[in-house]
């Protein structure tokens, strides 16, 4: 088995694991982690696809895509963790934004 096939297979495995975790786990921080595991799996598949054994140097476009994907994943994870932390605080501590009359009705 060539190394890039191994990478791709492991990537698909990570994707499946992450997806399962994101759906099945209840804890919010762990769900954020699970989505990151899934993302890492996708990135590994892309990196495996970038391998060009005959040329030697890997395909730079796929690498650029992975780099961009990592930047997006970091910012999205930061946002998700911030939301998760707010939600994990007890109700009365969630802060000063609560006095909105309309939304009270829909709660």
């Amino acid at each position: 088995v060539s190394p890039e096939t191994l990478y791709a297979a492991a990537g698909i495995g990570l994707m499946a694991l992450g997806l399962y975790g994101a759906i099945a786990v209840i804890d919010r921080i762990r769900r954020v982690l699970a989505v990151n595991v899934m993302g890492t799996g996708v990135f590994m598949v892309l990196i495996a696809l970038a391998a060009r054994p005959s040329v030697g140097a890997p395909d730079p476009i796929l690498h650029a895509m992975v780099l961009t994907g990592i930047v997006v994943a970091v910012s999205a994870s930061g946002f998700a963790v911030a939301l998760a932390c707010r939600l994990d605080q007890p109700e009365d501590e969630t802060g000063t934004d609560e006095d909105t009359p309309v939304e009270k009705g829909t709660r």
Partner: protein, 503 residues
């Protein structure tokens, strides 16, 4: 000649981003000016681009002079400009509405109340969302689509919780998780497509793609990702919570524009990339799910006790139609007609749903709640608001004269000519169900709350004008279908004659 078109495209994308940054840095002092500038300038840019595309055809801009296959290009054809027009009209009406919705009465000491926080979060995020949506509508390559999709997601989720509140934050978190999974699935597909074709430009992929297992897996991953984000049944579970717990102007934007962006991409992939047998088999599945969405969304809208939830479930149902009719793009004899019907439907739903959410927001703000059972008297106090909701309801049910009627007329005729009775019946039954849930609201709101009390004075609110403007726009759309068909027929040559397009 192309420079004028390039200017309109770049303005549509750059202006909202620049104004959004300004709103973020300069804070509440500039909100009013930023809102009016964007509300005035972006419809002009969209109109200018539409006229340019109508006169000269597709506009392509290679950013920084770097063209495909390596560089980033922007691409505006008839479908893109119609979506840009929708985002411009709904966007400017929502901006005007949001100015009044988030308005803060300042006490004499200049002390600002808490609501100001929501306003200063809303404007930067909304303008970022506007720019990202416009960038998505003109993205020419599959990877740029991924980047703009993520920008749209992050801005939308942020907007859901601008007012804070636990229900909104919880819905926002769920929305974010689902949207991220959808984007990753899409990205996986893009990687596979690039791995097999060596290009990222959507049209070039369409030319280079050879049917096979890699193409099938890539197409499925991309479509599943987009369908999750477009909230097609059974992936709609995140939508009602996120759209109904958001502040009313945000609900309007999410239902009218954001879910439409994912559908637009499905359509784009259908037309440009997977114009092979793949689209035919996939289309059947999506069509069945669409029919289930129409029935399930309408049934929930008939049952829910809350007005904003009713409008959100109606979005689930209306999105179903867009997927329901996808097979007609292959079956019908006149594909331009189907395409016009699909886009007219997307536009009509965008305008009507924004108006409906805005009206629901005004009702909730005045009444202090949105329980449908307790809406008695609203018809007397807020006649203009209810009138706008009624017009939006007419279009959602597909009754004349409205954009919704014109769109359904085209789609029903296309389905009849293709002898697809399943689609015909779903369209008809869905329309009846929509009329029933709209009537449910109108009946509750037109009741007199207390017959012995003196008649209530009608109240006027600045929230009513943008709402009514959208309601009128959806009526006018009923008459704009012919020019739309002309634009699509002339400027989408791939649609009229594509060799090997039919199975």
């Amino acid at each position: 000649l192309n420079t004028a078109g390039a200017l309109w495209i770049v303005a549509s994308v750059l202006l909202p981003f620049a104004l959004g940054l300004l709103a973020f840095v300069a804070g509440h002092r500039v909100h009013r000016s930023v809102a009016w500038i964007s509300a005035a300038a972006l419809p002009l840019a969209a109109l200018g681009l539409t006229r340019h595309v109508a006169a000269h055809g597709v506009v392509r801009v290679a950013l920084g002079g770097w063209g495909r296959p390596l560089g980033i290009e922007l691409h505006a054809d008839a479908v893109s400009v119609l979506m840009l027009l929708l985002s411009a009209i709904v966007g400017s009406a929502t901006s005007v509405y949001a100015l009044a919705y988030f308005h803060v009465e300042r006490s004499p000491g200049g002390h600002r109340r808490e609501h100001d926080g929501a306003s200063s979060r809303f404007w930067p995020l909304w303008l970022m969302l506007w720019g990202s949506l416009n960038a998505l509508f003109v993205a020419a390559d599959a990877f740029n689509v991924y980047v703009t999709l993520e920008l749209v997601t992050l801005a939308s989720v942020g907007l859901v919780c601008v007012e804070g509140g636990r229900a909104a934050q919880s819905a926002a978190f769920r929305y974010l998780m689902v949207a991220l999974i959808g984007s990753l699935s899409y990205l996986f597909g893009v990687g596979l497509l690039y791995g097999t074709t060596g290009v990222l430009d959507l049209q070039l992929i369409g030319v280079a793609l050879v049917p096979g297992p890699a193409a099938t897996v890539a197409a499925s991953a991309m479509l599943v990702g987009l369908v999750v984000k477009a909230a097609l049944f059974p992936f709609h579970f995140w939508l009602p919570g996120a759209h109904s717990n958001a502040p009313a102007p945000v609900s309007a934007l999410l239902s009218a524009l954001v879910v439409k962006a994912s559908f637009y991409l499905v359509l784009r992939l259908w037309l440009d990339v997977f114009a092979i047998e793949l689209a035919v088999s996939g289309g059947r599945v999506l069509s069945l799910l669409g029919a289930a969405a129409v029935l399930w969304g309408s049934a929930q809208a008939l049952r829910t006790p809350r007005l904003k939830l009713l409008v959100a479930y109606s979005t689930v149902a209306q999105l179903g139609y867009l997927f329901l009719v996808l097979p007609l793009l292959h079956q019908a004899t006149d594909r331009t007609l189907v395409m016009t019907g699909v886009l007219a439907f997307a536009l009509a739903h965008g305008l009507a749903k924004a108006a409906a959410f805005m009206a629901a927001g005004s009702v909730a703000k005045t009444a202090g709640h949105d329980r449908i059972a307790d809406l008695a008297g609203v018809g007397a106090v807020q006649p203009l608001t209810l009138f706008a909701f009624g017009i939006a309801g007419v279009s959602l049910s597909g009754l004349p004269p409205s954009g919704g009627f014109a769109a359904k007329w085209l789609l029903v005729s296309a389905a009849i000519s293709a002898r697809d009775w399943f689609i015909v019946w779903t369209l008809v039954v869905g329309g009846l169900l929509a009329a029933a849930y709209v009537a449910r609201v109108l009946r509750a709101a037109l009741r007199v709350s207390d017959p012995s009390a003196p008649p209530a004075r009608a109240r006027r609110s600045p929230l009513d004008w943008p709402t009514a403007a959208l309601a009128i726009a959806v009526l006018l759309l009923g008459f704009a279908v012919d020019p739309m068909a002309g634009l699509l027929a002339e400027r989408l040559p791939a649609l009229v004659a594509a060799p090997g397009w039919l199975p």
